[in-house]
Symmetry: C2
Subunit: 399 residues, 2 copies
Amino acid sequence: MKKVKGGITRPKGFFASATWCGLKRKRKDLCLIFSQVPAKAAGVFTSNKVVAAPVIVSKKNLANGTAQAIIANSGNANCMTGKKGLDDAYKMAASIADAMAIKVSDVLVASTGVIGRDLAVGKITSAVDSLTSSLSAASSTDVAKSLMTTDTVPKEVAVTFKLGSSVISIGGVAKGAGMIHPDMATMLSFITTDAAITGQALKKALKESVDATFNCITIDGDTSTNDCVLILANGSAKNRSIGSRGKGYKAFTKALSFVCADLAEKIVRDAEGGTKFVSVNVKKAKSDADAKKAAYAIATSPLVKTAMYGRDPNWGRIAAAVGRSGADLNVGRLDIYLGRAKVVSKGMPAKVANGLLRNIVNKRDIDITVILNKGGSSAGVLTSDLSKKYIEINAHYTT
Amino acid sequence: MKKVKGGITRPKGFFASATWCGLKRKRKDLCLIFSQVPAKAAGVFTSNKVVAAPVIVSKKNLANGTAQAIIANSGNANCMTGKKGLDDAYKMAASIADAMAIKVSDVLVASTGVIGRDLAVGKITSAVDSLTSSLSAASSTDVAKSLMTTDTVPKEVAVTFKLGSSVISIGGVAKGAGMIHPDMATMLSFITTDAAITGQALKKALKESVDATFNCITIDGDTSTNDCVLILANGSAKNRSIGSRGKGYKAFTKALSFVCADLAEKIVRDAEGGTKFVSVNVKKAKSDADAKKAAYAIATSPLVKTAMYGRDPNWGRIAAAVGRSGADLNVGRLDIYLGRAKVVSKGMPAKVANGLLRNIVNKRDIDITVILNKGGSSAGVLTSDLSKKYIEINAHYTT
């Protein structure tokens, strides 16, 4: 497997376009991803019980496991917009189906932006001509840009790998910088691949990849109403179809996980106001649930996150977060590392040179490792620090 | 019952003092509360599994239900300090026992400050003479001041009420401004009363009062290793002893709850960097657990808290927090109020004049009410906003 240039238009038979339809001020806010043939499709959606209209429509249109296009807008979440919102989401799908002469049920829909405002769907339907007439195999970055809200950089990635005599590509774009927490974040991600793969295998591979990547990041503990990861697999690579197990499945899932991990890391690195990239690892926990609890307690603690922002090696806050996490714990067995420096040994402060600690917390990337010595389970979470800039960005998002 | 001047020295037979022993720079950092006779005593402690040494010692010394003195320091939490820390906490108790000629097991100990630093216990024991020689019935405010860390104001309150022909007083001090979350916060509170009451009734009344007050506030979702609420009841009011039920118990618990509620509100109003006092109420939830989940999801959401800071009536974030809380929910039945303005009606935006909304979010005190229309349970949580100042305060606490 190797990382290559490009994004969602790297796999064969995918075209994309992006345009400005007027939902945002002077920035692209609408995009289309199109497969030349109907593709196997799968999705993973937000666990939030307040669900946006496009999520409802996409789930329904995914039921038969096939899709050919994705239309997405930024600038308005089309959430808590009642029956009109649902009609608007269907109109978005229908306008693409009409223009491209495909089935409405083969169009997936996504929206991101402010909650609770009526969608000016006319602006979107009026821009469909411009979208479809500009479809190209070179516009992945434009699509990534059109999804940005508080994001500061477009996020895309592509990989290729060989399977038998076929070369398979997977490409992805994502958006997200705040309201980021597992299951899922305020994030959209669209992934394309030219692999031939069964619907069942595609679903399984997507879930596995998302669980290990997008679902292991947190920026502020908030989960959005609109999140989804959608994947289309159009079979244009002409490989022998990948099933739910075996070498082909493994190679595909490895490549897909790489794509998801890359995009997830890009989201955390673009965290609203973030100045640090913090990797939290909890080891030797009594159970997987305990390991996760402890890792998330650290990664979501405002006190830990502000300490990281302040370049302050205040590991007492890490210990306090683990202590309240609910994970089984003997303080006398607890070890904590900041980077490679052991700061707590068996529940007591370890001797560390101050200069070494200062070097570690001054870096952009900081590793926090907590060893519970209670069992064999581990968990890892990626997060950012909590800065004044985060407050600034989020204090005035709608106004 | 009426609110009166004073704090912990208002009840008969209590004396207190505070001094500077050198743990903090040029600010009082050590205090003593003393009852002229052994008092019935009870405590509620942190649920954090990383527990500070003074918590271990106080729990042990409370086992027989009697205490006569509380010694407390700020500037060092004496937490994750191993066997030496435990010895140091015992030394604090022993030094007071020696000086006042009382039993070591009748001295309670509390500490607050940085975690994981050896306590310079010699500074404390050297200051005991100064503490005991300055005991007075007028120094409640000094005690409140000596507990302050990031607090900006000392916190105390007193009430009196009549029971039969006796007048009973209850007084309290508290400290806390960050690391505040139920069970318990980074807070210490010491309460005194001259009521005659059984040990069992005192324990029960304290737990009831704390559950409804200190355990219903959150500032940043972090729970500390050192928190405790301690109460001493010395019987000096000479009332007929209060038992675990009946009129006397009710009157006492009402007054104690008032004291706890007043101190809890003062803590939230002094929240680190706080510019808002936000009261979150969830009504008509399916269960008590659901009501609590929803209320805490809102009250701990960085997005909701930054919106309040930014005076932004962005109720979509409130809906999103409720949606991810895990509480049972039908969006179509969801109503949300900001102050008295209904902003969401049956899951849809309600028509509200912008001017009215602006007035509401411009005030210091903001009420958020969410009505789930799924059952009969309610929960209330008090919280603050999340401001740039919070980040500033917490980014550089140890350095």
